[in-house]
Assembly symmetry: C2
Homo-oligomer: 208 residues x 2
């Protein structure tokens, strides 16, 4: 079961590493990090680099494709070679997935036309401008189309556990959850726009 994670400069690391920690532990999993060329690829903060094993051009198939978001995703919505590669891979995947603004890339590639999908809460209008219908669910599964989109950043962990139960079985998925001790206890309840207090929205608005 081959999991392929495309990397590009300006990706968000947790979009990749959340699902990676889940999927890598499934029986028979193999993982490939792909990029325009092999080597270190820096994130949107410019301070963390994950190593790409191989070039996009050398990846011709995947069982599960996991497309991360980040500022670099928003900058690549006109990147024809990347969008063509995503479309070509999607034709042969068991599941094509995205985390955060990775769904913008799937949408720009035409894969979400007329479908419900999710994304980072700041990217709703952009997602819809590409023909998808935003839904505020944390994980959106389209079984028949083999498509799964997740909300912002940390939602990739929930997405991966949801899919792990289908790729393997629910007991195996829960075993992964136990091994990564995913029993979240956030010290605040501010993780969605609806839940965050006004002072938090004010702070973010002031920074823009």
């Amino acid at each position: 079961m081959r999991f392929v994670f495309p990397l590009f400069e300006g990706f968000t690391t947790l979009d990749v590493i959340g699902p990676y920690e889940v999927f890598r532990s499934l029986p028979g999993a193999s993982v490939t990090f792909a990029a325009a060329e092999p080597g270190p690829v820096y994130d949107g903060n410019g301070t963390a680099a994950l190593t790409a094993d191989t070039a996009f051009a050398d990846v011709t198939g995947a069982d599960v494709l996991v497309v991360p978001g980040g500022p670099g995703a928003r900058r690549r919505l006109d990147d024809r070679p990347l969008l063509d590669w995503l479309r070509a891979l999607h034709a042969g995947t068991a599941w094509t997935t995205s985390v955060c603004t990775g769904s913008l890339l799937l949408a720009a590639a035409g894969l979400l036309d007329g479908r419900t999908a999710t994304t980072h809460w700041t990217a709703v209008k952009t997602l819809e401008s590409y023909g998808a219908t935003y839904t505020a669910d944390r994980v959106v599964v389209h079984e028949a189309d083999r498509l799964v989109t997740a909300a912002g950043v940390s939602a990739g962990i929930d997405m991966a556990l949801t899919l792990a139960a289908r790729l393997a079985d629910p007991v195996t998925a829960q075993a992964v959850q136990l091994m990564i001790e995913y029993d979240p206890q956030p010290p605040f309840d501010a993780g969605s726009p609806a839940k965050a207090p006004q002072a938090v929205h004010d702070l973010l608005a002031a920074r823009r």
Copy 2:
């Protein structure tokens, strides 16, 4: 505010990237990944590599030290140069923190003697063999000693948000939570030994 993440072969990527995504977003944050030598450092799965910016020897101070766990942590409990480096850095930190079995390294360095601490649920006996007292809390803060330990893997996110509220303020910490959309909705409730069903424990026992 300088955040230093030591890397070593066999670390767990999410132990690093969970806190990284939180801390990197704080006002004035700078991030350094350090290792025995600069360059890519592979995780416990041997498939993901984060790039170390600099060598341990060239890092002589940190405001916040974040020690990850992973199989590589358990293999380094007799690594005198690493333990000496941790002790030396701790002398000047505002906070010294660990995620998962990173606390075993802090304990082996003598920093948790006689203190309560947490770790991955499979590492309790090892932690206590180094003189710490295990507590099943997800995040354990010792204000006077400037020490924070987190439970397994994903607990690093909760630890970092807890600490972010002290390093900055609670509104800033909640703004980070909202930007990483940390509104966890795990599809199962199996993230701790007490919550996981017997079938999950049986599966993990059968793999050992």
